[in-house]
Amino acid sequence: MNRLMTATALLLATTGLASAEGVLQLYNWGNYTSPELLEKFKAETGITVTVTDYDSNDVALAKIEAGGHGFDLVVPSANYVQIFTEKGLTTPLDLARLPNHANIAPEWRGVEWDPGRANSIPWQWGTVGVAVDTAIYGGDINTSAVWLEVPDELKGKINVVPEMTDIVTLATLYYGGQPCSEDLEVLKKVRDGLLAAKPNWIAMDYGATEKMSNKDWAASVNWNGSTMRIRQNLPTVAYGYPREGYTLWMDSVMLLKDAQNVDEAYAFMDFILKPENAAMISNFARYANGVSGSEAFMDPEMATAPEVVIPEEHKAAGVFMPVCSETSREYMTAIWTELQK
């Protein structure tokens, strides 16, 4: 008890916790940061990184907006990068302090939500497409028709993940619209299409990794990383990139305006832009990272996986979710509510 008291007294008294020498406060998604990466960083720089978890962009944003959080770096999703920037919660990066900034792959440098990567650097990215067991359905899988106009082989065997933005956007792209559409003509088609397709779905649920591996489901709208794990269990499963358009997501590291450990934060950002270190992030969380040359250091089964490395012919169809207007969000919610009935 005495030691406990002392420990706590120390903790309570720690006023300069965040500004002490050689520490860094990283605020990241849970189970997303490789412990080996942090050990290597400490061995090279002597800086101790403390990771604190969050489980949604909204919680992270709310806490940082409230101030006094003590964090230095945060890792929001693409559409939140803009929100953090516009609210002035983060600072533009001093690129002179990031020699490895040049390692960011060209396609991840020119993103519209952070042109030239002036405010954020890549952490990990992935896609939402369709996973199909080709032993059951041998037709074309690079189309959203697989789940919107379900082929007979897949009727009653296909799942759709309950992610409103991704699903409504995939359907909007399929019916010729744009993400965050406010075009009522298109949205009507989207709603009718989704409602007509739904009776052919087995479920709207998470857990495709398990349910497809044990053949409960023959197909699912799914994330790429999860699909890779399914394929490793069941080799007949393939990942389709709908040519009408599929969604891309990326989580990026940003420097907070009230960061206490700015030097350490730059050291860390430059560190993870080195290909061998970026590969450690990918090997831990099983998604690609956006740093050129990191493939060479990734686990071999990842570096060549068609789920992780988008085949050239499918690259153009990928779409980032922009920040949608209030109106378009209302439409999206209305369609989703009707679909849930």
């Binding site: 406990l4 420990a7 706590t8 903790l11 309570l12 008294a13 720690t14 006023t15 300069g16 916790l17 965040a18 500004s19 406060q25 605020y27 998604w29 849970g30 189970n31 997303y32 412990p35 403390t50 990771v51 604190t52 978890d53 969050y54 489980d55 949604s56 919680v59 709310a62 806490k63 409230a66 101030g67 006094g68 959080h69 003590g70 964090f71 230095d72 857990g207 990794t209 398990e210 591996s213 044990n214 999860s226 794990r229 009230d258 969380a285």
Partner: protein
């Protein structure tokens, strides 16, 4: 046996209802515990018996740190809230009824009534301002927040205990020239102790389980066990979560059993 008195156990469907309720309460927990011994990485597909996930959770420094932090916060929250609750209980029961008593009850029990998320956001904003102004980011904020919402849980058993104790012994002590402090120290406190221990343990468990307020109040490097588990949600959940939950459950069961043993009637 012309007329039997009313007894709930004789109502039709009593056994069925009881069984359904018990299943609903305990089946999920049993499933969770069983799958914590799963050898596979899946939460739902059984891959044979193993203790791997316990070993993994045990070796995970983030889990270890979070556990230590949870225990420290819960110990302090229990200590502080029980002290405050004892004073409040003495103040509200050891005297004649007074004006505004109900208002005070409501105030003390406020954390039971206000939705947790409201308290959480309010505390986040207030503490955010204080943290910015002072630059102090200790565990103190979490301890303070936990102590506050644990007070009613500590208060209720203590008050119940006090209401069962009449004033005769204290009056007798005063008659025998005991000072108020001596009366309190030698008479009231020993009689009250079981209620206080029960209150402290309840507060400890409530603090240990808290997610919402902790998630909003925590600063950098202040994950507790429940917020660490919440953070895993977006990635694939593994039976490591089951193993941690089972251990947390074991601690809770031990404390609740102790609570039960201490509060049950002596006769």
């Amino acid at each position: 046996m012309a007329e039997r008195s009313f007894h709930v156990a004789r109502l039709p469907g009593f056994a069925t209802t009881a069984i359904i309720v018990f299943l609903a309460l305990y089946l999920p927990i049993i499933t969770l515990v069983v799958y914590s011994f799963n050898a596979s990485t899946s939460l739902a597909v059984w891959g044979g018996f193993s203790l791997d996930w316990y070993a993994k959770a045990w070796a995970n420094t983030q889990v270890k740190d979070a556990t230590m932090r949870s225990l420290i916060i819960a110990s302090f929250a229990a200590l502080i809230s029980t002290t405050v609750a004892t004073m409040a209980a003495l103040g509200t029961t050891r005297r004649r009824a007074f004006k505004g008593q109900t208002a005070i009850y409501v105030m003390i029990n406020q954390p039971l009534m206000v939705p947790e998320i409201v308290t959480a956001v309010a505390l986040m904003i207030l503490f955010g301002l204080i943290k910015q102004a002072t630059g102090i980011h200790g565990l103190g904020y979490l301890i303070l927040a936990h102590s506050a919402f644990c007070i009613p849980f500590a208060y209720l058993p203590i008050r119940a205990r006090l209401e069962g104790m009449d004033l005769t012994l204290e009056t007798a002590a005063a008659d025998l020239y005991a000072t108020p402090w001596q009366t309190f120290r030698r008479v009231t406190l020993p009689l009250l102790a079981p209620g206080m221990i029960a209150g402290a343990m309840l507060a400890f468990v409530i603090s240990l389980d808290d997610v919402v307020i902790t998630e909003f109040v925590k600063s950098g490097g202040q994950d507790t066990l429940p917020t660490y588990m919440l953070g895993q949600l977006r990635r694939q959940l593994t039976p490591e979560i089951n193993a941690i939950s089972t251990m947390l459950l074991a601690v809770t069961v031990v404390l609740l059993t102790a609570f039960f043993l201490l509060t049950r009637k002596k006769d």
